[in-house]
Symmetry: C2
């Protein structure tokens, strides 16, 4: 009798309607409708629980990973149920549903990074993670960038999504609006060598990273204070390019990590 | 009659035995048996054709991507055949079979990078790509690293695999052997701040990057000339870590890209 009760208890812990709702958060449309996103894995979930973001639910596979004392409440589900709500091929066994924070305001006293049309979720997530590492906690994305709360972006941030304020805006408008507060440095294929560019402390530093395929768009480029580039060592065979998140991270290190 | 001939012509362009052989190159065992590896995508294949590596075959999907004049000879296969030999979920339509080069000799007059137990193919490939960008053309991997010619490593190098000499060795032996020729700098969680470490021009620079999970192993660590670290900006919430290929690339930029 006890066994039956226990089984029933686990069974009702997540309804089909909830499964459907959480699955819808894998896609842009569902996230926009419910204003929630998901994040998976014990470290990432712990990081989010420690952040100011509003965690609505934590689902854990019964008999899965051991839990740290940080958890006050979570809901146990079966492995099969976890598989049906997870966005990963190999679900790590813990998934949180998190409220998308309301749009905040730019703090012009703090540095920021702008992403102009970044399409690869791994690149965007990795750039957010690197920004957080070097203390940059504001990232502004152009409206045609990959969605910030795409599960692959969120996973690649490794929890940093909880500590970096994310904004979406038309970048050319943004540059016009904040031309006094920030020095805008665009990472380009051609420009001044990164190592030779330094800014005075009178304004904030705003690094702009362009899309993987097309770089920074023209209307943003003409508003830059400086174009910077990371030159290749010219051997007989110059390589194609650097990976976008690698190039961005090197520039982030140069501007924000070496003071 | 002409149609039949044409069909027959395409059909015999790749045999089942060849398909089986190329598929075996997806795995370590097959590569080691046949001493070949594969690389896919038009840019990567062109880069390899321009390198000193020995390209045995280039397969192209009939009616697929247009080809540049660089190609002297290639073999047309069907989309289905390409799918069966490709290591990618979405085959780009062009695949080359390349001979694994015979082990060469270290050139102690040139800089190098050592990878101690890197397990993620994307990380290893990205580090090789960044090394090539900054003119480092020797990479030494510990014997327990992911296989250099794993298709995911090769893809992530974006063709740079053709321009960087790859070695596999026991790193502690290597450090003993080349202690006079190189200054060995290990990227660690703790150590001297990267930005403060410079080497004289009297010796080569050898950066060592440790595994994603365990860092640099002890017997290598005790042979280092210097431990370097990329400090996080200490906010109230220090992030977990940098991605391994990001940390490596920042150190590569610092040591090899800013002269």
């Amino acid at each position: 009798m006890i066994i039956v009760t226990a089984f029933f208890y686990i069974y009702v812990m997540i309804s089909q309607a909830e499964i459907k709702k959480i699955r819808s958060l894998h896609k842009n449309k569902g996230r926009s409708q419910h204003q929630c996103f998901i994040i998976e894995g014990i470290r990432a979930v712990e990081d989010i629980l420690g952040s100011s973001l509003d965690v609505l639910d934590v689902f854990v596979v019964k008999g899965g990973d051991s839990l740290t004392p940080g958890y006050k409440s979570f809901r146990e589900i079966s492995e099969k149920e976890m598989k049906s709500i997870s966005a990963l091929n190999s679900p790590p066994g813990i998934l949180a549903v998190v409220k998308i924070p309301p749009p905040g305001n730019i703090n012009p006293e703090q540095n920021l990074i702008l992403l102009d049309g970044i399409k690869d979720p791994g690149n965007m997530g990795t750039i957010i993670r690197t920004a957080h590492w070097f203390g940059v906690n504001q990232v502004v994305c152009s409206t045609d960038s990959v969605d910030i709360y795409n599960p692959k972006v969120v996973q690649a941030t490794m929890g940093s999504i909880g500590y970096v304020s994310m904004f979406t805006d038309e970048l050319s408008d943004f540059l016009d609006k904040y031309s006094k507060e920030y020095s805008f440095a665009g990472l380009m294929m051609e420009g001044r060598q990164l190592k030779d560019v330094e800014f005075s402390k009178d304004s904030g530093i705003a690094l702009i990273v362009g899309s993987e395929a097309f770089g920074i768009r023209e209307e943003v480029e003409k508003r830059l204070d400086v174009s910077v580039t990371i030159p290749a060592f010219h051997s007989q065979n110059k390589p194609e390019s650097l990976n976008a998140s690698i190039a961005a991270s090197i520039a982030i290190y140069h501007f924000y990590g070496t003071e």
